[in-house]
Symmetry: C2
């Protein structure tokens, strides 16, 4: 189980490489003392020895976790700070342009609109050209990657550059976009690149498990250094990316995120932006009486409303994407002019926010950061706003329109920003939706808070002291609740505490966040899950709250019973048939069709390799030559020995490529090292029958179908073969005949890589447990066995179908027609004992022939059980 | 795999029970409409229908998660609040007594000393008598239980009562003890009891997985309502109790802990203790400039020193326990007078804290809560203490001894409390160590803070503004760091934020906590792990940071190769031999000694049952009678049919006991339902040979060795047998002979319960991955297979040894002599293919005899690989 063969091969190759290097070291080391002895005659000998030792010590330390984490934190803090600086400059440039042209409204409008349009268009074009993978949030992809799936090109330098520059431009435009999601992706790429870089010094960065752990830490760093919120960052990244979390990683995440947040804030202090390290959006609510107990219903209302709002946001976002895709005319047009859509959206949004125009009713001139600062402000706008005892923030005036009401402004702001954000996040630039949603939530909270303040001008508390209502506190609650509802997380609560630097509203925030989550989770998937579905990434849906029926659905109800398998004593023709008839990536290897005892699983590529090896022209020529030679009567034994040797040496070679590319294979699941770089022209030599076989479905995965073992064996043997190829004088008819002959031979599995213990489930395993195991171990398929006998298979697909089916149809859909009948008889235990009994009988009577065939076998089983 | 048969049997039984109940319902339901029809002639018919529907609706809701979580939160909040109230009353009573007797120092001393001694002695005696399991923290036990191990009597009502009352008395005595750990235990017991209670209404509380999830949530509730810290509670409970955490549970924890904390604080408001909901130990540090960047080194120093201190505390605590155990004279004396040790320790500690005595130099008169309030105080004691511009808290004077220095008081306090706490937590009463450590940490932080304040009286900042140093902030940092170091958690940081209601010191706290953890983790295990080791609970040590060698040790290096197994075609004599030769609880079932193909695993109890069944006097008498009857020539076929039927009915019976005891089996791993209550006198009927077998090691587990299937079959058959037993006229010699005959028969496995897919690993699986899988799935053993063939076994023991061995010996110890040799040849891949090849060969040649035996097989394998 789980100890995949390919993986083990990878580790083996790495170990081998390490050993070889060690041996090199051993042969090199004896020289060193003598070198040193020579030097020791000189004066600086001790220094040199010391320097050498230091160097060696440092290199040995480079491999340690904490060095990596510190470096990661440092780099990410620098990136975050530099990006913030660049974004701030961009936004200031816009403001300056807008402010400088205040004589002419038209010019002002042109400047206000053109600037973001150009930036967004550039961002979209740049990412499109350099790395289309950089588009969007990145959290859905990271979730999938941490689940163990390989997404190509998602963690490369190119994507990193595209994402950083694209994100800076996109945020610099002032559109309602966020940086949190992309930062998770950026941090992960940074970790991947860093790990690749550090592996130049030490060999420790080549382990798959470790890389996944580091990626998990990187996600925490991403959120942590984006908001200077280490704790919230760790928790948010856990909630968003993981199903099961190792407490080990939690540690790494905390360490790196704290360091990163620290450096991020220290940079601000050194840059004289701040006097000391404080929160990003510092609030100054009173500490002694933050809120009254009787205000709690209002907070609960915020939570519930945010839940509905969050679900609506996710729904709206998805509908916009789906609408753009479905409308074929729009779609075709947009596919041609890829940059038109971003430009158009930006144009609309920036037109609406133009301050002298409609923007005056929705505080359009404020940047996202200014908006948040004003919303979290301590004062009450509605009533006490007239009092001049408070000194106003200058930017606060944006909310107080002379001819309008604060409430109207807030309502307009919320409504406009809501659809704007939902629309803007569909633009194909690197962007997140967390911050926009956070702002909308804050505005909504402020609205409720202002209403409360207007309703109870002297506070609710009836005792001697008058404690006025603090609308800023409501804004904090609203921000946490809405962002929690959209992302389906509770850790937004922690993020707001860290962002505002105050934890006094902990209970209202927690209550609102939990209510918002409860509502939103029952209505819609989270934004990230929604994107995962839209992008059709391989995922496993969560089991929701209280779906008790999950405990009653069993694997036998959802498994695929009619699966293809490979038997130990099969012929090559059978292999061919199996490859034709199924698209499964892993084929079960059973002892025989009668016993069906599962021995292991063999990859599809391996089966292909076995076949192609059997039908390879080299082999054909070899037999041809042997036939010729046997007429001569000599050299036959010699060549067969050479063949043997060449196979053995070939099994040692994969070490090198694995060493050179330490990260990629570590992040790859399916088919590791040697198949990565097939030698050019390797596909040319396959036989006709094989070609006809692959033509059926080879167009989709031509390199994958070409097997690992095949290349390996071939690369070495090619030198022997080269001379033979000249003697290929067989006609196509002869070749076909020869291939037909070959197909009738029994398969020799000795050269194939077999996973000796694929993951197994039992028929009675509950869906709940299956889900847990699949999530825990990141499986994509598992075989179902009954006392060693293969009876079926469950893959992610079936599991997903079962969960989603029962989520909508309440557990009815997934049960096959016979399930209810089966339930009503005391069958299950009996079935097993019967099956065992049969096996035992069979054993006793020395392989008595039974009704063969896997399908028949299974049916037989279930019917007998009843 | 992992779908344990026993477990599945349990679920099956439950399903069966549910079905039966449903059937009952079905048969009962048809009546109801007619009943209602009768009523419908009356007037209140609609009301009744409505009431019935309401009732049904309510009952259906009772089963849902959130109802359970709300109830749990509510109950725990009430318990916590009531306990706090009782403790406060106790402490006030002591203060009142001490205050009232201020005329006579001797009387005062007597009162001061006697009161806690009586309380502690009562607490120790009470828990000793009612439930000794209630002693101590409870977190180590919960960790073990959540790992999947069954600890008897740990979650019962008796223990609950003992723990609540014992803890109240212990804390009421004013000893340096905490309530956090016990609260985790109390909450878990509460969850277990609640789940048992609610299962009276609905059938949903009978699932093992769900119970574990609920226990995890309960742990969070425990911490959450103890400190009114929901977020910190969830995180702390995750860090302390889990290795892998399901994000699903995180949710449940948050929900329940928030609700609990909310109610806990609302109760305080309703009781007029507080004006509104605020933090437990509210601080009022300034928000705009909480600390200077240049103070960070001081915070780092606190962190590192706390790390050493924490490790020392754990070491001291363990040494005290070990000393008490090793000293045989002391031990024997204490065993006799169990209450003497608690009384003695209390006497010593309370004597030293006597305020007019030595206590005046260590603020002895302050309770734990007062101490914390003063330590977190805003003012500086050392310099500005003379200024009268600040209004003092009255209790603050305890620290300012007229003839002494604040620094001296603090140092004395820290030193004395350190050993006192380490000693006090070894008293056999329900108590935790978190709070005492927290207080010591706060004092240490305060000490550093006061020193800094004395050193830089006007603050470090050199700019225009003068920001004085806030020693209270240092106290917060110190408290988080030391408690983090002792428990090896970082979430203490979150707990202090929630406790103090201020998050402004987030970065210093995080830095100090991380440093403290780094130091402490490299020196000592956590306090809880230390207790786990002392109590010898079944546990799996964590893999530490950066143990790269873990990735290189493989399962083949640590597995047990020489394991006993059961073959499909074995004789009863073989079973007997296997039972004699091994103590393994699960025996692998292989196809044959030649093929060694793993078919499943069979429990030891099952094997015992098979044997006892074969040798049972009933069977003997049956054969005897059959022999007699066959002479008559009839009824033979009839009785064999009846036998068959009786076995079938018996497989349906376990439903009932599983239904009646919903919680226990759910928490049990090994051997579920039917063996729980063996019918009286069932051990009497076993045969002589069997008795001799069990005499070898039956003293340790007599009921366990008596098998499940045996009882089941017997309970039904006993009626048939009763009449036969009268005819037992065989002499012992005859019986022996008959038994010998029986032993030579091949085993009939049809009645045995077999786990059809035990967990399998591959030889090359790394130790790191093995550890992960064991922790993830909560395994206690796994079989090692190579292409379906059993080659070894790994249990928790081997794994633990390997991890601990390599922790001390750096990976050298665990490698067997041949490992290095094996490494230096390209063996592994070859070995596998060779083994497969052999299997294939064997298959081709139709079971050619091979060199048999499992040990020989393995050696063969490795040598061939070289």
């Amino acid at each position: 189980m789980y100890g995949r063969y390919t993986q083990d091969l990878g580790t083996f190759a790495k170990d081998e490489a390490a050993r070889l290097r060690l041996q090199e070291g051993d042969t090199a080391r004896p020289r060193r003392p003598s070198e040193l002895l020579e030097y020791s005659q000189g004066r600086c000998a001790p220094c040199r020895v010391c320097a050498l030792q230091c160097q060696r010590f440092l290199i040995s330390k480079v491999g340690e976790d904490w060095v990596f984490l510190i470096l990661l934190g440092l780099v990410m803090a620098l990136v975050s700070w530099a990006m913030d600086f660049a974004i701030a400059t961009c936004l200031q440039a816009q403001k300056w342009m807008y402010g400088g042209l205040d004589t002419n409204v038209l010019l002002q409008y042109m400047a206000w609109v053109t600037y973001p349009t150009v930036l967004i268009t550039f961002s979209a074009g740049f990412t499109q050209i350099l790395a289309p993978q950089a588009v969007g949030s990145g959290i859905p992809e990271m979730k999938t990657i941490l689940r163990g799936v390989v997404l190509k090109e998602y963690l490369t330098l190119k994507t990193f550059v595209a994402k950083v520059i694209g994100l800076t431009c996109a945020l610099g435009s002032g559109m309602p976009l966020g940086k949190e999601g992309p930062f998770v992706h950026i941090a992960s790429m940074c970790a991947a690149l860093l790990s690749r870089f550090l592996s130049l010094f030490g060999g420790f960065y080549e382990n798959e498990a470790r890389n996944i752990e580091m990626l998990a830490a990187a996600c925490a760093v991403g959120v942590g250094c984006c908001f200077a919120a280490p704790i919230g960052g760790v928790l948010f990244s856990i909630e968003v990316t993981s199903t099961f979390f190792a407490v080990r990683n939690y540690w790494r995440g905390f360490f790196a995120a704290t360091f990163s947040a620290f450096i991020f804030r220290v940079l601000a202090v050194w840059n004289k932006d701040e006097e000391t390290i404080t929160a990003l959006f510092k609030t100054r609510f009173r500490l002694d009486f933050p809120f009254d107990l009787q205000e709690l219903p209002a907070f609960a209302v915020i939570g519930i409303a945010s839940g509905f709002g969050g679900a609506l946001f996710v729904y709206l976002n998805r509908k916009i994407v789906q609408f753009m895709r479905r409308q074929k005319t729009i779609n075709r047009f947009l596919m041609k002019k890829r940059l038109l859509f971003p430009a158009l959206v930006t144009l609309i949004i920036s037109t609406l926010t133009f301050p002298p125009g409609f923007g005056q009713f929705m505080a359009g001139q404020l940047t996202q950061k200014d908006t948040l600062v004003t919303l979290f402000d301590n004062q009450t706008w509605a009533k006490q706003g007239i009092n001049d005892e408070f000194e106003y923030l200058g930017i606060l005036e944006a909310w107080l329109h002379p001819r309008s009401n604060v409430f109207v402004t807030l309502v307009v702001f919320i409504l406009m920003k809501f659809w704007m954000s939902a629309l803007a996040t569909t633009i194909p630039v690197p962007c997140g939706a967390f911050m926009p949603v956070f702002v909308i939530g804050a505005a909504f909270g402020r609205l409720v808070g202002e209403s409360m303040a207007a309703w109870f001008p002297d506070g609710i508390h009836t005792d001697s002291n008058i404690y006025r209502i603090v609308p800023g506190g409501y804004a904090v609650v609203g921000a946490a609740a809405l962002s929690g509802a959209v992302t389906h997380t509770v850790s937004t609560a922690v993020i707001v505490f860290e962002l505002t630097g105050q934890i006094s509203h902990i209970l209202p925030v927690m209550i609102a966040v939990i209510l918002a989550n409860a509502v939103a989770q029952s209505l819609q998937p989270s934004l990230y899950d929604s994107i995962i579905r839209i992008k059709k990434l391989p995922y496993l849906p969560e089991l929701g709250w209280g779906h008790q029926e999950k405990y009653n659905v069993r694997v036998e109800d959802i498994m695929v019973r009619d699966i293809r398998y490979v038997t130990l004593n099969c012929k090559y023709r059978d292999l061919q048939q199996v490859l034709h008839s199924t698209k499964m990536k892993n084929l079960p290897l059973v002892e025989s069709a009668e016993s069906m005892i599962l021995l292991g699983s063999i990859e599809r590529t391996q089966v292909g390799a076995l076949l192609s090896n059997q039908l390879s022209p080299q082999r054909r020529l070899l037999t041809l030559r042997q036939k010729v030679l046997s007429e001569d009567g000599h050299r036959l034994s010699d060549s067969s020995i050479r063949f043997q040797i060449s196979t053995e040496t070939s099994s040692g070679t994969p070490a090198r490529p694995a060493l050179r590319k330490p990260l990629k294979p570590a992040l790859k699941r399916v088919s590791s090292s040697p198949a990565d770089s097939p030698p050019a022209g390797s596909t040319d030599h396959t036989g006709i029958a094989l070609k006809s076989l692959f033509c059926a479905n080879a167009t989709t995965e031509p390199t994958e179908a070409q097997g690992t073992a095949y290349h390996k064996a071939k690369r070495v043997r090619i030198s022997i073969v080269e001379e033979m190829i000249l003697g290929d004088k067989m006609t196509p008819a002869e070749i076909l005949e020869w291939e037909e002959q070959q197909l009738d031979q029994p398969v020799d599995f000795s050269s194939a890589k077999i996973d000796p213990a694929p993951f197994q489930l039992v028929e009675h395993t509950s869906l709940h447990k299956t889900h847990t195991i699949f999530s825990l171990l990141g499986l994509d398929h598992a075989f179902v066995t009954s006392i060693g006998r293969l009876v079926g298979m469950v893959s992610l697909k079936e599991l997903r179908k079962a969960i989603e089916g029962s989520l909508t149809g309440k557990g009815v859909k997934v049960r096959p027609p016979l399930a209810s009948f089966r339930d009503s008889t005391a069958s299950t235990t009996e079935a097993d004992t019967t099956a065992l009994h049969q096996l035992w009988d069979r054993h006793q009577h020395h392989h008595m022939p039974r009704e063969a065939g896997p399908g028949g076998d299974d049916d037989d089983d279930t019917t007998k059980g009843q």
